[in-house]
């Protein structure tokens, strides 16, 4: 209960700070939203060139994108911690975060959360509902249930992947190069992998980016065809989360409270 109060108070202070820079916050919201919307427009543009991509139509692919972006946005909103942990490692700031009267994860969430995550959740949820309606699965309780499972597994895989990537900051000074690159690459992997060659399908399944986009959405859209990869999404999500938490544990042990030479001005 005490943690809940601290969490709410931390959120209130963060929002108060952001409200002091209204134009900046608005620029960030519009910039981020614009980026996602342009990505979705690219999908629409592709379908001005071709009537379908493999066996998939425009609304099905829009649903794949929207599901992935919605899961990512909810993950950022509720659990932005992985994306800021490298800063704590590099600047040696984990010390004072560790002695605060709330768990590190909660505290980091309160100071790093941003209004743009809320706007992204709203927009992507709307896009997901519209595309679900146009693919005909909105009226099917069973398929919508599968979509909810897909969202859950996608979100957990995202969080697990991010934890693993950002915890590398405890060993390398430049882990952010991984995260930025992976984020950009993730956008390009949000297409049906069954139109790609076999080795590439293997790579995307192993990474496992295919479990953040294609398999979960295909599971909800065509459960008969993609039942097994869809079900596998949950154990994959559990493995990724477990891997992320193990990495976090090792990263905390590795942390030496000294920051990096770059932070001392030696770069």
């Amino acid at each position: 209960m005490r943690w809940a109060w601290i969490y709410v108070e931390g959120l209130r202070l963060t929002l108060k700070r952001l409200a002091q820079y209204r134009v900046d916050a608005l620029a960030m919201i519009l910039g981020d939203l614009g980026y996602r919307v342009i990505r979705l427009l690219v999908v629409a543009l592709l379908f001005t060139v071709t009537p379908q991509l493999g066996q998939w139509g425009p609304w099905e692919i829009t649903l794949m994108w929207a599901t992935a972006m919605l899961a990512e946005s909810v993950g950022n909103l509720l659990f932005v911690f992985p994306t800021v942990i490298d800063r704590y490692f590099h600047e040696g700031d984990l010390d004072y975060v560790r002695v605060r009267p709330a768990p590190i994860v909660l505290w980091a969430n309160t100071v790093a959360t941003q209004p743009r995550y809320v706007s992204l959740v709203v927009v992507m949820l709307s896009v997901a509902i519209v595309s679900a309606a146009n693919t005909g699965i909105l009226g099917s309780a069973g398929q919508m249930g599968l979509l909810a499972v897909a969202l859950l597994s996608t979100g957990l895989v995202f969080i697990g992947m991010r934890l693993m990537l950002f915890c590398l900051a405890a060993w390398f000074t430049r882990s952010r190069v991984l995260s930025h690159g992976i984020a950009a690459f993730t956008d390009h992997s949000r297409y049906p992998i069954d139109v790609m060659d076999q080795p590439l399908r293997g790579v995307l399944t192993a990474i496992p980016l295919a479990f953040t986009v294609f398999y979960p959405a295909a599971f909800a859209l065509r459960p008969d065809e993609y039942l097994m990869p869809g079900i596998l999404g949950l154990p994959v999500a559990a493995i990724m989360m477990a891997g992320g938490l193990v990495m976090l544990r090792f990263a905390f042990r590795k942390y030496q409270s000294v920051g990096t030479p770059e932070m001392w001005g030696a770069s």
């Binding site: 910039g31 980026y35 991509l53 390398f172 690459f185 297409y191 590439l200």
Partner: protein
């Protein structure tokens, strides 16, 4: 004499710094290779069902287009792209911009020189290896001819000039707003779409292709790529180079004017 050698010294120092931080470029190379692989597969699937794509490009031309567009793409989320932008942002936030302003080198020349050094390493460690991998696997062909290869090299250099000019505009914006990362994200998306790197301009709906020509992004990616595959030859290629040069020079002038206006509002206090 010093004015002439300073930009070279700055560019060289950024080559050395970039080489010291190789991991960023190795990651960028791995991601560019995977992204290009995905896009080649995606466009092969699109072409199968697209009359327009079949009419505009042979299968080999389309694969070459996609690979070369990624090779010359200055939009990739590489270390080079981010460093240029975030460094300007950090200097404003921390007050380090005061040091930039008293350095014995013009701010615009300083930024272009830094960007040149990082771009050279990006080209060496990401662009050329990506081209080599897809060339050796036979997915991408050679330039259409020797002349086209020469024109392609000039076009890539001019594309860099346009990209550097656009980045400088964004760097100038960091003087007035703190949350420019949102603007930078938009820049990446617009550059990818309107640059023709993701969808060839010839396959875009007419209104969008027309709109794309109004923006400078096509001069960064589409022009060099079309020259490489031989879709722009002779006078058409020279005209494309002229447009690239005009954008490059226009952005130098525009960036300079914007900087001069905005830098007057800077209060060097950091924070």
């Amino acid at each position: 004499m010093q004015a002439a050698t300073l930009p070279i010294a700055v560019a060289w120092s950024y080559v050395k710094v970039s080489l010291a931080r190789r991991i960023g470029f190795f990651m960028s190379l791995a991601i560019t290779l995977l992204t290009t692989w995905i896009l080649v597969g995606l466009w092969a699937a699109i072409r199968q069902n697209s009359v327009e794509a079949q009419a505009e490009f042979t299968a080999a031309e389309l694969a070459t287009y996609i690979v070369i567009a990624q090779v010359v793409s200055l939009a990739r989320m590489s270390h080079a792209n981010r460093q240029f932008f975030y460094q300007a942002l950090r200097h404003v936030h921390t007050g380090e911009i005061a040091m930039d302003l008293v350095r014995p080198i013009d701010n615009q020349v300083l930024r272009y020189s830094q960007w040149l050094g990082v771009f050279a390493v990006d080209a060496l460690m990401v662009a050329v290896p990506t081209w080599l991998v897809f060339r050796l696997t036979g997915i991408v062909g050679n330039p259409h001819s020797g002349v086209q290869a020469g024109l392609f090299a000039v076009s890539v250099a001019l594309g860099w000039l346009v990209a550097a000019g656009f980045h400088y505009l964004l760097a100038a914006l960091t003087l007035v707003i703190t949350q420019t990362p949102g603007v930078n994200l938009m820049r990446v998306a617009l550059q990818e779409v309107l640059g023709g790197g993701f969808i060839p301009l010839a396959l875009m709906p007419g209104w969008l292709a027309t709109a794309a020509v109004v923006f400078p992004f096509h001069a960064m990616v589409s022009s060099p790529t079309l020259i490489y595959i031989g879709h722009l030859q002779g006078l058409d290629a020279l005209a494309a180079l002229g447009i690239q040069a005009a954008w490059g020079l226009g952005l130098i002038v525009g960036g300079r004017l914007l900087w001069m206006q905005l830098v007057r509002r800077v209060l060097v206090q950091g924070g």
